[in-house]
């Protein structure tokens, strides 16, 4: 530890002696710390990127981190980067961290994200007209439980995901009551139970996600998202309310980094800027673990072997 401190110290001295030009900035031996979250595509992606950085000569460490709290950790430099900033889920935390400083936006992946109301395929038989939201609303009573009866029950994500489902239900005048699950696991447990019994269910889901590989299903089509829907009441079908639309069907998936990363590991930062994954690539990463039951590290190796042409250019 002492040696590490000394090393950091001398590196700092060297950097300040050479001035802020960064022309002679040295690549640090310190490990680049990559956070892993609690969904498998992200963990595999982290290992894919980690292994790439190792091939480029960097030390890499992984640390499990909460997916919201991670932005604070990136800001403080406790973790070096973040590979999956979902517009819908983490945009707010990311923007808040940007405002506080210490974190930088390193560009978007090719992949787009979508998070919205979703149903398993067998529901189309039970409720004709899906995926249209008005058709869903007509079948609302099928989704009722004792607590929500006679209204239907929509199983939403945890409250801290801030999806404004209640506002949408109100704005569109739907006969649904929003029930918040406490975790993603809770969503999948209900989905698993319901689809085993082919019971009606409509719940919050997103893509890319391993669920696509296990269950067939579709997103509900709400009035299409447009700028102004969330803050301008005049926008959309309901002229008095905001949130009268679905979530963006093409949300961004960003990369972010600690603002000291570029100076400390310039080469690694270049790689981070270049790399970009597509929806099918991410889905494949998830499936390697969730369907083929590989360990994340193994899955990363498999993916790297199969996709050399994808990542080769990033390392140059």
């Amino acid at each position: 530890m002492l040696s590490k401190t000394i090393k950091t110290f001398t590196a700092l001295v060297a950097m300040s002696a050479l001035g802020a030009t960064g022309a002679f900035a040295q690549e640090s031996d310190d490990p680049i710390i990559i956070p892993t979250h609690n969904w498998n595509s992200q963990i595999v992606m982290s290992h894919v990127v980690g292994k790439l950085l190792e091939r480029a000569g960097y030390n890499v460490e992984y640390t499990p981190t909460d997916s919201q709290a991670v932005y604070e950790s990136v800001r403080l430099g406790d973790v070096t980067l973040e590979l999956e900033v979902w517009e819908g889920a983490f945009g707010q935390s990311f923007n808040a961290a940007l405002k506080k400083g210490g974190i930088v936006d390193v560009g978007d992946h090719n992949a787009v994200t979508r998070e919205d109301w979703w149903y398993p395929a067998y529901m189309e038989e039970l409720c004709p007209g899906l995926p249209d939201w008005q058709a869903l609303n007509r079948c609302a009573s099928q989704f009722a439980t004792p607590e929500t009866s006679p209204k239907g029950r929509f199983l939403a994500g945890p409250v801290d995901w801030l999806k404004h489902d209640q506002e949408r239900v109100d704005a569109l005048g739907m006969d649904f009551i929003v029930v918040n699950a406490g975790s993603a696991s809770a969503l999948w447990a209900e989905l698993e139970s319901a689809s085993k019994r082919r019971a009606p269910i409509v719940l919050f889901n997103w893509t890319p996600n391993f669920i696509e590989a296990v269950y067939e299903g579709k997103f509900i089509e709400f009035p299409e998202y447009g700028k102004g829907c969330k803050d301008d009441p005049a926008w959309g079908p309901n002229k008095e309310e905001t949130h009268d639309c679905g979530n963006p069907a093409n949300g961004y998936l960003k990369k972010a980094a600690w603002d000291g990363m570029e100076a400390k590991w310039p080469g690694a930062y270049r790689i981070l800027e270049k790399l970009s994954f597509t929806n099918p690539q991410i889905a494949k990463m998830a499936a390697l673990v969730d369907v083929d039951e590989l360990e994340p590290e193994e899955a990363a190796d498999v993916w790297l072997d199969e996709n050399e042409q994808v990542w080769k250019s990033w390392l140059q």
Binding site: T5, Q68, N180, G182, S183, S185, E190, E192
Partner: protein, 624 residues
């Protein structure tokens, strides 16, 4: 006041907004002050580096790798063999099988790496917690002011939900393996302080005088006389520390601790319940093994070997060296005995999934009726009642109860606990928590007492029931959540069911202990008076065991408060859910205030029950 509700002013129904105090803002300001003005983070980060370094060394020893000392890992066969020998040394064949068998299980099921990461965390956190606890306990015994000021802090610390510790740790120590270790240390230290203090206080004064008249300097007296004399309590403290460490395994993974806990959450996330249960079994095995080993160590009576021949005297040491050499040689020849990767390990996952499927398919519909009934006729009315009750009436009721049972101090404490909740602005959420706890604890009492009475009727049954209690207590409660949701969906009933499963453990345990510890002469007296089994139970055993059972019920309340926070992962609207939200948004102040609210709910009940129990024990002449 309940009846007069319609005429009460609003200010007595809900805590008026003008009175609410921004505790959370104060805490955040304080935290900012510590971080930015005092630069405390420089200090805490230095500690974090030290902890990380120690972890690296331990990790390196167990798993090999570049970090730490850069040594190759010890083969699993060696670890299992040495653990078996240690078990034999401390407790004979059964313990040898348990400890050797646990490590063999971990290896064969391909969980070696995860388990070693978890063990590294325990091996670093537990000694640190023991050391800190021991020193603080000693200091508190020396300095009266410290003892007086540390007692309430310990009470609060032991009733704060695990999650409350996480945010401050993240802010001051960062995230990662070391942060998990530090959170675990903080969580595990209080019982050690308590047991050290208790042990030191229980030493006969004569022993201390014997030390003084033998000419001990104060330091000699402490380390050669007092600490060894308090050995049993200190060992029980160490045992509790280890149990607390394992209770934190899953939760520590929220802030970056790798290992079994992290894997468990991931598996649950992708609904691989069978694999998750396997991990749960690993955690239980590790916990029970460490528990039995430390207990065997605690109660081990020293033996004298000074006059035996060298070979005999050092037989265990020599045996260990021989075992290590042989097992390393075997592992060198056959890599299977060195390390078994996950994919080559055994798995019973395929067994469990059909069971879970069968349960969902076949039990869901029959339970539907039950679910509707409970939701409509029990949960919703109770919930509404708790929400409807004026806060002033609730406070008055409990303060009054405190006055009757425990006198003025007790009443004052309860008033300030509930007052804090009211002024913090979380009264409504706290009432939801209170309602869930009330229902869960009521069910626990009915079921737990019944089970406990049934199990206490024969010694062997009692023993098996207690082992089951140990198992369930260390089984990671997160695993219950998934099947419960599958059966009851996301709603309060699921949360209450999950809480009930976990919180029933102490109710059962203490009922068994209480009933089995009724003094034999009394039992004989009642039997010779012609009482049958039922009469003996009702007339003698239950009344005498009741104080102890009440301790169990008190624990049940504590357990249910811990679990209700975890049940937020199902989806609730109570304090626990808000705490998760605070955690997500790095709101340290809010997280702590919510933690205090939960702790104060628990402490209110604790005040009432423990005062009653102490008084009752005195009346029965059972007090120490």
């Amino acid at each position: 006041m309940m009846l007069a509700r319609p005429w009460l002013p609003d200010a007595l129904l809900r805590p008026p907004a003008v009175l609410l105090l921004p505790f959370a803002d104060w805490l955040n300001a304080f935290s900012d002050y510590l971080q930015n003005d005092l630069q405390l983070t420089i200090f805490t980060r230095a500690i974090a580096d030290v902890v990380q370094f120690i972890l690296d060394v331990v990790n390196n020893f167990l798993l090999g790798g570049r970090k730490g000392l850069g040594l190759p890992a010890v083969p699993w066969l060696t670890v299992a063999a040495l653990a078996g020998l240690l078990g034999y040394f401390l407790g004979g064949t059964r313990l040898a099988l348990l400890s050797g068998g646990t490590f063999t299980y971990l290896a064969l099921f391909g969980q070696w790496k995860l388990a070693m990461q978890t063990l590294a965390l325990v091996f670093v956190s537990a000694p640190a917690a023991v050391l800190i606890g021991l020193l603080l306990g000693i200091a508190a015994q020396r300095k009266r002011w410290l003892e007086v000021s540390i007692a309430p802090l310990l009470n609060i610390a032991q009733s704060l939900p695990h999650f409350s510790y996480l945010l401050p740790v993240v802010i001051f120590f960062g995230v990662g393996h070391h942060a998990g270790a530090i959170a675990t240390i903080i969580f595990a230290t209080p019982p050690m302080i308590r047991m050290t203090l208790l042990g030191l206080k229980r030493i006969q004064p004569e022993i201390i005088e014997a030390g003084r008249t033998s000419g001990c300097s104060p330091r000699q007296r402490l380390w050669l006389v007092e600490v060894p004399s308090a050995r049993q309590e200190i060992m029980v403290g160490i045992n509790q520390v280890i149990m607390q460490c394992l209770a934190m395994v899953v939760i520590a993974s929220f802030i970056g601790a790798p290992g079994l806990g992290y894997k468990l959450l991931l598996l649950l996330q992708s609904l691989r319940i069978g694999d998750a249960i396997e991990i749960g079994v690993s955690i239980v095995l590790i916990a029970i093994m460490l528990d039995r080993l430390t207990l065997a160590w605690a109660y081990r009576v020293p033996e004298y070997h000074g006059d035996e021949r060298f070979l005999v005297r050092h037989k265990y040491l020599l045996g260990a060296i021989a075992l290590a050499a042989v097992s390393i040689a075997i592992a060198a020849l056959e890599p299977y005995f060195y390390f078994i990767p996950r994919r080559e390990g055994l798995s019973t996952g395929f067994l469990w999934d059909p069971i879970v499927d069968w349960i969902t398919l076949n039990l869901f519909d029959p339970l539907q009726v039950f679910r509707h009934f409970v939701a409509l006729y029990i949960l919703i009315p109770v919930r509404d009642l708790y929400q409807w009750a004026p806060f002033s009436a609730v406070m008055l009721l409990y303060t009054g109860l405190g006055w009757c049972i425990g006198g003025r101090t007790c009443a004052l404490l309860i008033f300030s606990f509930l007052g804090f909740i009211a002024l913090s602005g979380w009264w409504d959420r706290a009432m939801i928590t209170a309602y869930m706890i009330t229902v869960a604890v009521s069910v626990c009492i009915v079921l737990g007492l019944t089970l406990g009475i049934w199990a206490s009727r024969s010694p062997s049954r009692a023993k098996r029931a207690l082992l089951l209690c140990d198992t369930f207590q260390t089984f990671p409660s997160f695993i219950y959540l998934i099947p419960v949701i599958m059966l009851f969906q996301v709603n309060d009933l699921s949360a209450i069911a999950a809480v009930t499963i976990y919180a029933m453990i102490p109710a059962v345990r203490y009922t068994i202990e209480g009933l089995r510890n009724v003094p034999v002469p009394l039992q004989e007296a009642v039997t010779s008076a012609g009482a049958n089994r039922l009469q003996r139970l009702v007339q003698l055993e239950l009344p005498l065991a009741l104080p102890h059972i009440m301790v169990g019920i008190n624990q049940t309340v504590m357990f249910s408060l811990f679990m209700v926070v975890i049940a937020a992962f199902i989806g609730t609207q109570d304090l626990g859910q808000e705490m998760m939200r605070a955690l997500s948004f790095n709101d340290l102040g809010k997280g702590l205030v919510l933690g205090f609210c939960v702790a104060f709910l628990g402490l209110t009940i604790d005040q009432l029950v423990s005062h009653w129990e102490r008084r009752r024990k005195r009346e029965l002449g059972l007090a120490e």
